[in-house]
């Protein structure tokens, strides 16, 4: 995973709440077996509308998505995070995220920062007034800066550390493999196993 410390880029003001992962990437794009190349599926249904904000030329090349509350609800598909990454987004700002989406983001190096709703409104207004506005997301300082303004954001210490170090969870867990083995010895014998199946 790539390390994340600070990112500056232009922003997409997506004035919608409850953006579910079916909207972020529709199911038809989930049939691939690769880890990359999902950018064509990002907001695929909405992008068919030429007026959709991501189709507007002033927002070409954006890398910070600023969305309404309850972003990433619904399906657990990590493809939603990959689609955002592949399209070029490095950060999402919203006042509230669905839990699974947020977890997936942290695994794939996409920063999801919790920013107060009134600050989101302000960023929307400022970016709409001037789409060239640069937004800086500083993970070290836990701060968003744009147009001379700042807003703090929430992220837990552990996720922040992992993102800043670009650490792989599996590698971290395997450092404690002997504890996993020890735990396994303590599991009751009546717990089910998938192999071999009894007849029936």
């Amino acid at each position: 995973m790539e390390k994340f410390t600070i990112h500056t880029g232009r922003a997409l003001p997506l004035r919608r709440s409850n953006v579910d992962t079916d909207q972020i990437i529709p199911a038809e794009y989930l049939k691939r077996v690769t880890r990359t190349g999902f950018e064509d599926g990002l907001f695929a249904a909405w992008r068919k509308d030429p007026d959709f904000i991501l189709n507007q030329p002033q927002y070409a090349g954006v890398s910070v998505l600023v969305a309404g509350p309850d972003f990433g609800t619904g399906s657990s598909r990590e493809h939603a995070v990959w689609a955002l990454n592949d399209y070029g987004f490095r950060v999402v700002l919203s006042s509230r995220y669905a839990d699974i989406f947020r977890g997936n983001s942290s695994k794939a190096g996409l920063l999801t920062a919790v920013v107060a709703e009134d600050r989101i409104e302000q960023i929307w207004a400022d970016v709409e007034a001037d789409p060239a506005t640069e937004v800086t997301v500083d993970l070290a300082a836990r701060e968003v800066r744009w147009a001379g303004q700042t807003a703090p954001f929430d992220i837990d210490d552990y996720t922040r550390w992992r993102l800043m170090e670009g650490l792989d969870d599996i590698g971290l867990t395997l450092r404690h493999e002997e504890m996993v083995t020890e735990f396994e010895h303590s599991r009751p014998g009546w717990l089910p196993r998938t192999l071999p199946a009894k007849s029936g």
Binding site: R16, K31, A45, P69, G103, N104, K107, D169, E177, V180
Partner: protein, 474 residues
């Protein structure tokens, strides 16, 4: 989580699975059962291959093909090449890594959340994960079960553990008794409308109270299934005699002295009287009536007897904007009676309502009646075993006589990854779990309903409950 105070059911299951706990870090939790399907696993197996890692516990892992599979001509190769590749990739991965697979045509194939319980693999007190948000279904047994992303699928395959921060706990107390014709689906749809799609965020919900205790295990699965639509990570119900009766004798359930030891342990899996929940929500079952959705998220619902609300009536600006947008997408107007909404498709199936009791309920309503002209009704059993059981009971013939289509098992029109889709502007009454834009097909419009409402709607061609049918006949 809890120290000297009493503990909730969720906390007990959590505590029993902590492999490692350290200040400032997530707990490392052991996973008892990992369910795998073709859509969210290929990149995870690829990751293992790249790192040269094996699957740590193939004997705690089981895979099936459900999201992509066609529900007709299942003996032929999958026509959609991309879907076929995904299914074939799963088969190759399972063979290479030694994971048991129930492929198309196998008697144990079906929706992953239907086959786990059916095989007796889902048991009280276990931790269950799957790369699918509806893993919450398995909480009906008192398991801590939740959906994960593909990176976490790889993590579980490699280590049989997950690093997790403790969830908050929410009690949903459902008092009173359900009236006839009102089901578990109506309880959960009403709950989501009450607390919203973000209401359960960060929480594990424990469903409690008289109305919950009275439900069958399958009905409990319907409720726990949709916990994710309220934003919760998981839903749970304390195991009781109903649960134990369902499990006893299933292929993977313990036997003899092992069974007795298991039941003795399971009886302790209840929230202590002095335990405290972070959030408590109350619902009165006796006041509930059949509930349907009118919008494009599962929190936009209302009793079937109501009208579509006016977006202006929502105090929160985001809710108002969402309602306006939803009505535009759905092609509906505020003030329209829900019973006046005509549909062209009825879908009975999914991990929410694709089990044998759901099919029985729908069949009982439609028996001796006909699907309305211009309406197509798809009945898709949740698994091959559910399908065979239904056929043994003659339910297939009931549906076929009414003019419905009787299909093979899979996720089907719940998300339209296979050919079972809505065309643009088509409108469905669906027993599934999500009414998102385009969920059942591009431009398709979905109303979430119970199996009883689905069957009655098929007969009248408009959103209806079985009591509407009786009225017509008198």
């Amino acid at each position: 989580m809890g120290s000297t105070m009493g503990r909730t059911l969720a906390q007990k299951v959590w505590d029993a699975h902590v492999v490692r706990s350290a200040d400032g870090e997530p707990d490392l939790l052991y996973i008892d059962l990992h369910l795998v399907h073709e859509v969210t696993s290929p990149q995870a197996f690829d990751g293992l291959r790249l790192a040269g890692r094996p699957v740590r516990r193939p004997d705690l892992t089981i895979a099936t093909e459900d999201h992509n599979v066609p529900t007709v001509d299942i003996d032929k190769p999958i026509a959609d090449l991309v879907s076929r590749t995904q299914v074939e990739t799963l088969r190759r991965n399972c063979a290479e890594f030694g994971v048991r697979l129930a492929p198309m045509g196998d008697i144990d194939q079906g929706i992953v959340h239907v086959i786990g319980p059916q095989l007796g693999l889902t048991q009280p007190g276990m931790t269950v994960v799957c790369g699918d948000s509806h893993t919450s279904t398995h909480g009906a047994f008192g398991a801590l079960a939740f959906g994960i992303g593909t990176s976490e699928v790889e993590h579980v395959l490699a280590t049989q553990t997950l690093p997790l921060r403790p969830f908050k706990t929410m009690a949903v107390e459902v008092r009173g008794k359900l009236a006839p014709g009102v089901t578990a689906k109506d309880i959960v749809l009403a709950l989501i409308t009450q607390i919203g799609t973000g209401g359960g965020q960060g929480h594990v919900i424990e469903y409690r109270g008289e109305a919950i205790e009275a439900l069958s295990v399958e009905a409990r699965m319907t409720i726990c299934n949709m916990s994710i639509e309220a934003g919760a990570r998981a839903g749970m119900i304390a195991p009781d005699d109903t649960t134990f009766e369902y499990l006893e004798g299933r292929p993977h359930a313990a036997e003899g002295a092992d069974w007795d030891a298991a039941v003795a342990y399971w009886r302790g899996l209840r929230t202590d009287d002095d335990a405290e929940f972070d959030t408590v929500v109350e619902l009165d079952a006796s006041t509930l009536t059949p509930f349907v959705t009118w919008g494009t998220n599962p929190g936009q619902g209302a009793p079937l007897g109501a009208e579509i609300p006016n977006p202006a009536s929502f105090a929160n600006p985001a809710d108002r904007a969402a309602a306006e947008r939803a009505l535009e997408y759905m092609g509906l107007e505020a003030g329209t009676k829900l019973r006046d909404i005509a549909v062209d498709t009825v879908f009975v199936g999914s991990c929410t309502n694709g089990r044998i009791e759901d099919l029985r309920a729908a069949a009982e309503v439609i028996k001796g009646r006909k699907v309305a002209d211009g309406v197509r009704m798809l009945v898709v059993p949740g698994s091959v075993r559910v399908r065979l059981q239904a056929m043994e009971e003659g339910l297939d013939q009931v549906f076929l006589d009414a003019g419905a289509e009787w299909r093979g098992a899979g996720c089907s029109m719940c998300l339209g990854m296979n050919p079972d889709q809505l065309a643009p502007q088509e409108r469905s009454a669906s027993t599934s779990n999500r009414n998102f834009e385009g969920r059942q097909g591009k431009g398709g419009r979905t109303h979430l309903v119970s199996p009883l409402v689905a069957a009655a709607t098929a007969v009248t061609g408009r959103l209806s409950s079985p009591s509407d049918l009786d009225r017509v006949e008198v």
